[in-house]
Amino acid sequence: MLTLIKGGRVIDPGNVDEILDIVVREGIIVDIKQNALTEEDDTESIVIDASGKLVVPGLIDMHVHLRDPGQEYKETIETGCRAAAFGGFTAVCCMPNTNPVNDCRQVTEYILKKGTKEGSARVYPVAAVSKGLKGEQLCEYGELKDAGAVAVSDDGNPVTNSRLMRRALEYSSRFGLRVISHCEDLCLAEGGAMNEGAIATRMGLPGIPNAAESIMVERDIALSELTGIPVHIAHVSAIESVRAIRDAKKTL
């Protein structure tokens, strides 16, 4: 049986960006070309009209919160995966700030098991940097990797202790796990409701300066240089952070 995806803007980043048809046979793409036709006698062919739409490879969301276990009233692995699939995302990396925290094999395995059962998107669990996200003790990365974790992060909290962050970079490298850093100086950001500036001032809302993010981005860059181990900076939102990351990449 053939499926024909017709007339969409096909994007394969860096390779393809044009209006094309995609021919799929039994779940496998067999042809990508202009004006593809189904065989005339094949009455079982399905034609999907994609004109005016984007046709892209399965997207991966590097940073989602499935809130499961513990906060299922907000989101579950099932609803999160279905939302992802609906938006064109075939895989998601879910952050560990659940309850209990994904800091041990049992939670990682629970997430994977439920994600596999749900099936609408692939689930890649990100485990915690520190036990309970408390920034006091490293998690057992060897065991978490074995259980199926793909990276580590204390997302939701910054790793405020620079020594712990250094050791996390070093220890995770032994197991091929990347550290994803939530960069925020909590003291600078404390109480803030929006970006610091004219609008916050006019609205009478407490502001968060860009430096609350970029200070920790620069720290993590320094630790990355010290250890020689790459770090992944999550949700970059300030121009100062972008500059710091760009400059650091230049010196690699």
Binding site: E140, G142, E143, R167, E170, S173, R174
Partner: protein
Amino acid sequence: MALAKKDILDMESLSVEDISLILDTADRMKEISERPIKKVPTLRGKTIVLFFYEPSTRTRTSFDIAAKRLSADSLSLSASTSSMVKGETLIDTGRNLEAMNPDVIVIRHTCAGAPHLLAKMLKSPVINAGDGMHAHPTQALLDLMTVRENKQKISGLKIAIIGDISHSRVARSNSIGFKKMGADVVLCGPPTMIPKGIEALGVSVTHKVEEAVVDADVVMMLRIQKERQQHFLFPTEREYSMMYGLTHARLAGAKENVLIMHPGPINRGVEIAYDVADGPYSIILNQVTNGVAVRMALLYLVTGGARDADAD
């Protein structure tokens, strides 16, 4: 032949000839401990001060027994029984001790370089029994002796040292000692426990035990200190044991008749499995036995015993 050194401070300052002389002397000293009457008059009338600023059972006992077997008078001082608690500096304590004419001062100190400072200030020979994370030459010498005794050579052997290399004076002194005597040394531990620039000692580094033990003639395990957990060097004893504990399965790639060593005290079931510690290739207790012989040799050599013997 006599030792051309006043002090035994670290493995760097000992030449290949010095080390060979010490090991040969220790081989002969060992026999004394096997006699029914384990005492010779060699150091009769000599005074050995054992000055331990840091807790120690094995090393201090070993020096004490070594001194007694050579008929020297030994006395032990610890940080709590010395005037250090009254605020006296190391140098002043050393000078006061020297004023009582000791023949050798053995010192262990938490600060790297303390024995070197003392050696520079005092006329008496100083033996370093461990200074901070810096050096533990008598341990390295007894390890060299034990390996040589079991393998009849040191040159060409592959020595794997596994554990917290960062905080280990034993790893540093053994790396230098074994390299100097022609062995290959590979250091292994999680990246958190490998100090920066250690390759400058001429050793190689790996983070996987399975890689470290490949074709190893000797596997030396280091004690994992639980308090290091607070410094984020490892998450739990459980994971350390699972990833870095020496088990029979992990030894599969090592040479046949691989020797298992450990400076002690061992944490059974953590860095070393029970059956490996007690297994046929374990020479952990031989190390302790040879420790006495090496320390007898050192006390004998630094007091100029050899010169006297030559004169006879």
